[in-house]
Amino acid sequence: MTPFKSALRIAGRHPAAAIAALFLLGLTLLALLAPWLRGDSPWAMVAAPLLPPFSQWAHPLGTDMLGRDLFTGLLYGARSSLLVGALSTFLTLLIGVGVGAVAGYNGGWIDALLMRIAEFFLILPALFLAVILVSVLEPSTSSVVLAITLVAWPSVARLVRSEFLTLRQREFVLAARVSGQSAAQIILRQILPNALTPVLVVAGFVMATAILTEAALSFLGLGDPDGMSWGYMINASRNLLRDAWWMSLWPGLAILLTVLAVNLLTEGLRSALGRQGGRHAD
């Protein structure tokens, strides 16, 4: 069976996840093509202010109080959310997997120390920490990514560590040790591939959290000052809730659907990959 057909098979068994995947792909595409589809800047004042949605073809979702197009804002906001989400997830995985692997493989006091540090960051109220960090470092895409990574890595680390704790006892690892492979080789070639499934799953949840945190930070005024963001759009709508409720509806819906899609896809991955179990590398 070709990979394509088997993919379709899997998709058929998990329709929700498949739709979610399509949605995310479509969103990414739209976000990338935004400058060609909707013009250079979401900040340009292109029409009469406070235009209601569905009243003009050129501005399907209406405009805000300065006449900026809301659909354009959504697309550019998608760029921020997806970019920050992807970067944060990547960085979180890098750090989380690294720390978790070292802790899980070595055990002993290294494990205890690293896990203590992880628990410390896990207990702290995440958004407060993120807010302070971004504020102190001055708001920008990099400080936001850094802040999200700092609060997200512990859960990844703990998961990877517990996977490692179980896996390192297994026969294939013992066999690899006996055959003289170094610790690094064992970690990279034997254990990690088997730990991949839960790591992918937790990556999905990290991505969802990253998108929500980025939105919250932008809402509080700590987002990248030059970038349009869904959180910023929601904040801008607060004064006009009465007269222009749609200004808060679209960006919120966008966040909801994106996070939902990520969650559904992750759930789908979890059940799909779970079936195949962990096969050991040879």
Binding site: L220, G221, S248, G252
Partner: protein, 330 residues
Amino acid sequence: MKGLWFLGNRLAQALLTVLGVLVLSFLLVRLAPGDPALLMAGEAGSDDPHYIEQLRVQMGLDRPLASQLLTYVGKVIRLDLGYSYRNQSDVWILIAERLPATLLLLGSAFLLSSLIGVGLGILAALSARRRGWLDKLISTLATLLYAAPSFWLALLLIILFSLQLGWLPAFGMETVAASLSGWDRVVDLARHLLLPAFTLACLFLALYIQLTRSSLLEVFRQEFVRTAQAKGLAPRRILFAHVLRNGLLPVVTFAGLQLGQLASASLLVEVVFAWPGIGRLLYDALSHRDYPLLLGVFLVISVLVVLLNLLTDSLCQWLDPRIQAGGGQA
């Protein structure tokens, strides 16, 4: 005896965590580009060179880092959290004024979300056993709630209940400028509390529903329930005596773990509803770059979360003595 040792152990751990928070906030100030004294003077105090010089001396910026840290920790222990130039007041006083409002909000939200969440979770589990439609409905609701940003949900609720229907007030904790007393005041407070507490509860509703549902379903399958059924105990008694007690354990554990998230979400809710708690205080401090206040709030909320964690851990231990010091359930 064992319980006491356990408590002592957890207390020591909590203290260590608090120390860690102190070190973290100490480092954060020095992390920023530029002069730490200028940072701590805030936007409002930065034009007062006399004040900045004063701060420089107080923070001991010319001394080695370790010495500065010691000074800082010593101050915090004496409840000296710094001075807010803009508000012309000690940080500790500003926080103490607002803390009760936040505690009220957190407490109400926790109650609402656990009561409603567990209730709906029970319904869902019962419906799942019979393959009913209620289960599907509740689960879908939970999934949607989990993905929605809390501040957006807050705005939607305001639009619906406050602006369109006019049932509930949209902002604040009490009606501004109306001096109410006694029962009227309590009712007024409750009306203002309802939307923010409910919004905050929504976030965790989803998790409580799912958790209760799955843990109950798990418990239904277990041996001792069948044993009890065989013994002839009435179904309802089974439910309450055995199922709930064992099924609720993960819920309580979970509650403890989620306190940090609850606190974080309360920040957003307080901002949207202009609820005068420390989350709102943080937001004001943020807008005015009032760093002493910012850090003070961070410190206090972190310590609060650590203490509440300690509380729920002890509660877990009491509910099921089989659980040892830890909480390292991934």
